[in-house]
């Protein structure tokens, strides 16, 4: 094979053109010896047992443990990335461990986890590792969770949906300009990806990080909520997350809690039934309430659950079925 061959990586919408010895924009897919290699396959740089609420997933097996792993690199370059020490570096510049898919599954079972999360950076850039591990995890009755920016092409997204049970997807802003200027990406593929997940039966929750002066715009938030209502349905949980100064945006203050509460009120007013405020303690906006009669269903404090009043996934007072994956019984809108 000629060393001048050009490879097009069609995994994500960047469609990087890569030549021998070079990597794509994500730094983790490199042409070596005439083949495009996913060099982080089986080599995570972070692996932890987390509560599932940390992803955050609030309507998916609450109170359970989830084995969470990441490989180095990312196909986005968000200037506010909180995990940038692992997402914005090349894999060879970071320590990683040798952990093939079967070992991930073994570790999850040994740690009494009910699911495996592909997270912290973005499973899109360790796609093959995620896919193979997910297949093996399913065989052992483990569930698979992606925590992702959802910046991926249609075909790989559809394939991944076959083995994914739940996802928390970042909708970073309802603005293409925001995506272009702050994340080096674009909005449309993210929206398309979420619709695909919903159509394929993946339990979906959405996170919107509110960055002061960039996307703390109530009109933009209203548009985003209306889009969610129309395309993902009223039962898709939305998490407004508080920004803290990180990476290249340390000059900004944390998001005022009052604004997050205002955004939540707007989203509920528009018709979304489950809207949460995260990265903040003590607001009560991390609890799940019955959208019909307001009964407290799940009380959350940080990542712990002092109260879970659901009865077979339903409100104990009015009996309304609450959308989510609560255990053996799954209720999807």
């Amino acid at each position: 094979m000629a060393r001048t061959d050009v490879f097009v990586c069609e995994l994500c919408p960047k469609n990087c053109r890569i030549t021998e010895g070079h990597s794509g924009d994500c730094k983790s897919r490199i042409v070596l010896d005439g083949e495009l290699r996913a060099i982080t396959y089986g080599r995570p740089c972070a692996i932890h047992v987390d509560p599932v609420e940390k992803k955050p997933l609030f309507h998916f097996l609450p109170g359970t443990r989830i084995l969470s792993l990441a490989a180095a690199g990312c196909n986005l370059h968000c200037k506010f990335c909180q995990n940038w020490t692992i997402s914005q570096v090349a894999p060879e510049d970071l320590r990683s461990v040798d952990l093939p898919p079967e070992k991930v599954v073994e570790a999850a079972l040994a740690q009494q986890c009910l699911s495996v999360a592909y997270t912290y950076t973005d499973p899109v850039i360790f796609y093959e590792y995620t896919l193979e591990t997910s297949k093996l995890a399913r065989e052992k009755r483990l569930r698979n969770v992606t925590v992702t920016a959802g910046y991926i092409n249609r075909a790989p997204m559809e394939l991944l949906c076959r083995v994914t049970d739940a996802s928390n997807t970042d909708l970073k802003a309802f603005s293409d300009t925001f995506y272009k200027e702050l994340c080096d990406a674009s909005l449309k593929p993210v929206l398309d990806g979420m619709v695909i997940m919903k159509e394929r039966g993946v339990w979906l929750e959405v996170t919107n990080l509110v960055v002061p002066t960039f996307n703390d715009d109530l009109e933009m938030i209203r548009k985003m909520c209306r889009w969610m209502l129309a395309n993902l349905g009223p039962d898709t949980p939305l998490h407004f997350s508080r920004f803290y100064p990180m990476y290249k945006m340390r000059n900004l203050p944390p998001t005022p809690v009052e604004f997050l509460m205002k955004a939540r009120a707007e989203a509920l007013e528009i018709g979304l039934r489950y809207v949460y405020v995260g990265n903040v303690l003590g607001t009560g906006a991390e609890n799940t309430y019955c959208p019909s009669d307001g009964t407290l269903l799940i009380k959350r404090v940080g990542y712990s659950i002092p109260e879970n009043n659901l009865v077979n996934g339903s409100c104990p007072k009015c009996g309304l079925k609450i959308a989510g994956v609560w255990g053996n019984e799954e209720q999807r809108p």
Binding site: L11, R37, N83, V89, N168
Partner: protein, 92 residues
């Protein structure tokens, strides 16, 4: 656990995401490279080698490297056998 640690790896959460520069052995050349990122200096990227270079690391690396110091270039990535082949690829 702090309130702002949503979906961050545990270790990074504990030390607030700050990580000191590290020395990495380059098995290909038997020399040493500084880690190409330094969270101690905000606003730098992994490629801003000049901007992030820490003189102390340089001196340590110089002392440790028997075959000379390599300040540019990368370690050859490790590939996990044939299973590390990328999917969704087109050659032109």
């Amino acid at each position: 656990m702090k309130s702002k640690d949503r979906d961050r790896p545990g270790v990074a959460a504990e030390d607030n995401g700050r990580r000191l520069p590290e020395i990495i052995c380059d098995s290909a050349t038997n020399s040493f490279l500084p880690a190409l990122s330094c969270p101690e200096i905000p606003g730098t990227t992994a490629n801003d080698l000049g901007a992030i270079f820490d003189r102390r690391v340089f001196l340590m690396a110089m002392a440790a490297a028997p075959l000379g110091f390599v300040c540019r270039g990368r370690k050859r990535p490790r590939v996990h056998g044939a299973s590390g082949m990328a999917m969704f690829v087109r050659r032109i």
